[in-house]
């Protein structure tokens, strides 16, 4: 299978396993990835009610280590990495001078001077070049993506399925924290993070151990209802949990303030790229805001569909789908601030027909805690 650019698609260490499992494969950011194994809906529901297993090895890992590592991370991201203890991670933005997103990433603190940046697959090279270009002082910045595989297990039964394979106490890992431990004999980072809105873990390990670990987890989870899941379910799950997708809901023209991500912006921490632009925007007010909406009329809103109010086009749908667990047609769109409150109504244009939608509070789905 070739990508649209004509080059062969990149493969993760789990590619052969996917073919054996009969997955339907697609090109995602130049990688050959499974979009589904059985059915997007079955996989989605499995994650909400039992557990699902995802290959996310296509994502990028950038190591930032050395005496000036913290200073570099602080300079290129908007959240405050100095507040991270060793063993803690947070969600943050790599921003440009206009306050727009170069990428949305996770930063893991592995030591006082050791950080791991986990970045979107399609942005790995761009992010690495960006971070490297802002390097000052004594710090090593390495694109370590080829050395790391990543598997995510997500759902209420994740911990019970993963526990027997781990040489460490999973219960001790709090949300957005991680531990370095052996998993099925391989040295891994196990973090209680995910992109689904459920409890679960993301396991970072050596590429050579990935296929074994994935198979072992499938086996261990059989009795608990664990299903292998593809990118189709990954997208519907994150959308129900109202998590943004880079390229759809955020990009280099959207700021965290516009995208409803003010909570990751810590202007009080000191200078960082984009800080001035964000302070200005905070003072002047945003021109648009990302909202979550539900369809009122029949029809599914999809990425790129126009949004209208009083006959005028006022925005675009950035993400939209049928939510398999909430069983509603949901989506996100940028609208003028006056229409950004729950209860506000607008129309989504679906093949020339105006279908009514209503803004709803985030998220569409919240797990019972």
């Amino acid at each position: 299978m070739e990508s649209s650019a004509g080059a062969a698609l990149r493969r993760t260490p789990l590619n052969t396993l996917f073919r054996d499992l009969g997955a339907r494969l697609v090109d995602f950011a130049g990688w050959e990835m499974p979009v589904q194994f059985t059915s997007v809906i079955d996989e989605h529901v499995a994650v909400r009610t039992a557990a699902g297993l995802f290959d996310v090895s296509h994502m990028g890992e950038i190591e930032v280590e050395g005496p000036d590592a913290l200073a570099l991370v602080q300079r290129v991201t908007c959240n405050d990495a100095s507040r991270l203890v060793v063993g803690q991670a947070h969600y943050t933005g790599l921003l440009n001078e206009r306050g727009g997103f170069v990428d949305d990433i996770l930063v893991y603190r592995r030591g006082a001077d050791r950080f791991l940046l986990v970045v979107n697959a399609g942005n790995t090279d761009k992010d690495f070049a960006w971070v490297k270009s802002h390097t000052r002082g004594e710090v090593r910045v390495d694109n370590a993506s080829a050395r790391w595989a990543q598997i995510a297990i997500q759902g209420p039964r994740s911990e019970e399925i993963l526990r027997p394979l781990c040489a460490g106490d999973l219960r001790a890992i709090a949300y957005y924290h991680f531990a370095e431990m052996t998993v099925k004999g391989a040295a891994c980072i196990v973090s209680r993070t995910g992109y689904t809105g459920e409890d679960g873990f993301e396991i970072y390990g050596p590429t050579g151990a990935a296929a074994d670990l994935f198979s072992a987890l499938l086996q261990a989870g059989k009795g608990a209802g664990l299903l292998p899941c593809g990118l189709g379910a990954r997208d519907t799950l994150r959308l129900e949990a109202r998590m943004p997708l880079y390229g759809n809901d955020i990009d280099d023209t959207t700021t965290p303030l516009e995208a409803g991500l003010k909570w990751i912006v810590k202007t009080g921490k000191g200078e960082f790229i984009g800080r001035d632009a964000l302070l200005r925007q905070e003072k002047e007010g945003v021109g648009r805001r990302l909202v979550g909406f539900e369809m009122v009329d029949r029809g599914i809103a999809r990425h790129g569909y126009a949004v209208r109010h009083d006959g005028r086009e006022i925005g675009l749908v950035t993400s939209g789908t049928f939510g398999p667990y909430v069983k509603k047609n949901i989506g996100m769109a940028y609208v003028p601030p006056g229409l950004a409150e729950p209860g506000a109504r607008f129309a989504v244009v679906i093949r020339e027909r105006e279908a009514a939608a209503v803004v709803v509070p985030a998220p569409f789905y919240k797990r019972a805690r």
Binding site: V35, Q36, S39, V40, I41, G232, T236, R298, G299, I300, R302, T321, F322, P324, N329, R351
Partner: protein, 134 residues
Amino acid sequence: MSKGDGIYPEDLRYTKEHEWLEVRGNVATVGITQYAQAELGDIVYVELPQAGAAIVAGEPFGTVESVKAVSELFAPTSGTVAEVNAGLAQSPDQVNKDPYGEGWMIRITMADPGEADALMTAAQYRKYVEDEAN
């Protein structure tokens, strides 16, 4: 039921766009084939015309949507919509579960019942699908 299982009832006619047609007198019932529903995956929405709408052979008459994608439905023959399967509004998954039965989409009063003869037989469609898969 995987797309390799090749269920194509003998008494139906088939199109290159993977619709099936059942003709009784001058009324044709239309749906999509078992191959099409397997290709699309979970169907979550079907958009169909109203009764009385004009149908033109080869033109799109509605859409069928899976979680990931929107696909157009193409009219196998010309005529007027006599009846629409209202059950698909509540249960679009019937198209996956029973594509030749409960998953039927529209009934057309045909302008020219002879138009059906130009469509593929089950044997021809089976060969068409096998060729397309390779």
